[in-house]
Symmetry: C2
C-alpha cells in the first residue's frame, strides 16, 4: 500500500491562496504567482500537454511526485475551480478542461451524488459523498501500490490531518509574503502535537521544498 | 551599517508560541519544545553560562548569529517574560536574570519611561518610548557596524515588517505541528507582497533553517 500524501505550494507566511478570489483571480490576489516556480518545468508542461521546459532538481522532484501518485483526492471546490458563479452549483463543470493534468483516477469529495466522468488522458472524476475515509478507501483501491495524493484545498488537507491519516507532506515554500489569504494550517488540530520527521530539503532560487513524514 | 534582522523558531504550521501561556508555560503549551533543537548547542550553552554542548552546523549557525548582533530590540513582554502576574506592571523585573544571554545593548519597546539597567555580562536594557524607528536608530548607533537583531515577540517583528525596515530573516522551522498559539505572520501586511530571496537553507534532523533577504 502506498502513502497518503499531499504536496502544496505556500507562501513563506503560510498561505496557499491570496485574498479576494474572483473570476480573474481564482487563487485570490497574488495566489497564482505562488506557483511561478512550477509553470516552466518540463514535467509540469508535459502534464499540461505542452512541450519543452526546464529540467533540473525541481523538475525531477515534481516528476517523481507525479509518477508516484496512483490516485488523487480533492474537494469539490477544487474540482470546479474555486470561487465563481458555479461555486454553489453541484453540477458545475470540471475547471480542468477536457484533458485534465491528473491522468489518474480522481475522487472528489462532495455532498451531491454524480456520475463518474471519464476525461481525456486518463483522468476520471468520481464523486464521493460518504466522507473522507470512504474517499481514501476508494482512492487506495484505485492506486494499487502507488501513493494517494490529496490535491486540496486546504480544508480537505486539514480534515485528513485531523483524522491522523496523512503519511507525508511535501511543502513547496515560495519566497514571498502575501499577508492575507487562505492558510494551509488553520486551526487544523485540536490542542495537541503532530511530530514530524523532515526527510528532504531541496532548495532552488525559486522555491524551497520541505518534505516531512508524519510520525504515527 | 549592519542589517536589521530577526531570527526566530516556528513550528511548521507557523507558531512561535503555543496556546494558553501561564507561569508554568511562558511560551504556551508546547511552546518551549519548539526550541529543543537549540538548548543542547555549545554556543547557546555558552551564552547561558554553561559549558559543553554539541558542535556542528546548527551550532555554527547560531554562533555566527550571536556574533553578528551588536544590539537587540525586543518588546516589553519579552523583556519581562511573557504572560504572568507582572504582565501589566511597567516596572516588572527582567525575566532574564542578573546575567542575561544577550551580552549587547538591548532596546526595549515600551510605553513607560524607565532608567537603563546595566546587567552582568555586557547586557544593558534601555527603554524606548518613542516607537520602533527611534528604537532602531538607537540600536544602530549602539551596534556600530554590526547587525541589529529583533528578538520578538511576534508583534514587534510584525511592526518592523510592516514598516519595511527588515533586511533579513532567519527562520528555524521545528518539525512539529502545534495547531494553535501565537503566529509569526499574522495579518502583518496590508494587502501586498513582500518579495524575498532565499539565501540559505540548512537542514539537520532537529530543525530546518531558512534564511531570506527581503527585496527592497
Amino acid at each position: 500500500m502506498g502513502k497518503l500524501r499531499f504536496e502544496i505550494t505556500t507562501s513563506l507566511d503560510g498561505f496557499i491562496a491570496g485574498p479576494d478570489p474572483d473570476l480573474e483571480h481564482p487563487l485570490g490576489v497574488g495566489g497564482r504567482e505562488l506557483h511561478n516556480w512550477v509553470f516552466g518545468l518540463k514535467a509540469f508542461r508535459e502534464r499540461h500537454g505542452e512541450s519543452g521546459g526546464e529540467t533540473g532538481p525541481d523538475d525531477d522532484l515534481i516528476r517523481e511526485s507525479f509518477d508516484a501518485s496512483g490516485a488523487i483526492i480533492m474537494g469539490r471546490r477544487m474540482f470546479s475551480g474555486g470561487s465563481g458563479p458555479w461555486e454553489d452549483d453541484p453540477n458545475a463543470d470540471a475547471w480542468w478542461g477536457d484533458d485534465p493534468p491528473f491522468r489518474v483516477p480522481v475522487f472528489v469529495l462532495t455532498h451531491h451524488p454524480r456520475e463518474t466522468m471519464a476525461m481525456q488522458g486518463g483522468t476520471t472524476f468520481a464523486f464521493v459523498t460518504e466522507g473522507i475515509e470512504a474517499a481514501l478507501e476508494q482512492a487506495r483501491a484505485a492506486a494499487g501500490d502507488k501513493d494517494v495524493g490529496i490535491s486540496g484545498g486546504a480544508e480537505v488537507i486539514q480534515q485528513y490531518l485531523r483524522a491522523g491519516l496523512v503519511d507525508e507532506m511535501l511543502i513547496h515554500v515560495s519566497p514571498v509574503l502575501i499577508g492575507q489569504g487562505v492558510r494551509l494550517f488553520e486551526n487544523h488540530l485540536e490542542p495537541g502535537r503532530v511530530e514530524l520527521e523532515c526527510t528532504q530539503v531541496l532548495a532552488s532560487p525559486a522555491v524551497t521544498h520541505l518534505r516531512y513524514r508524519i510520525a504515527k
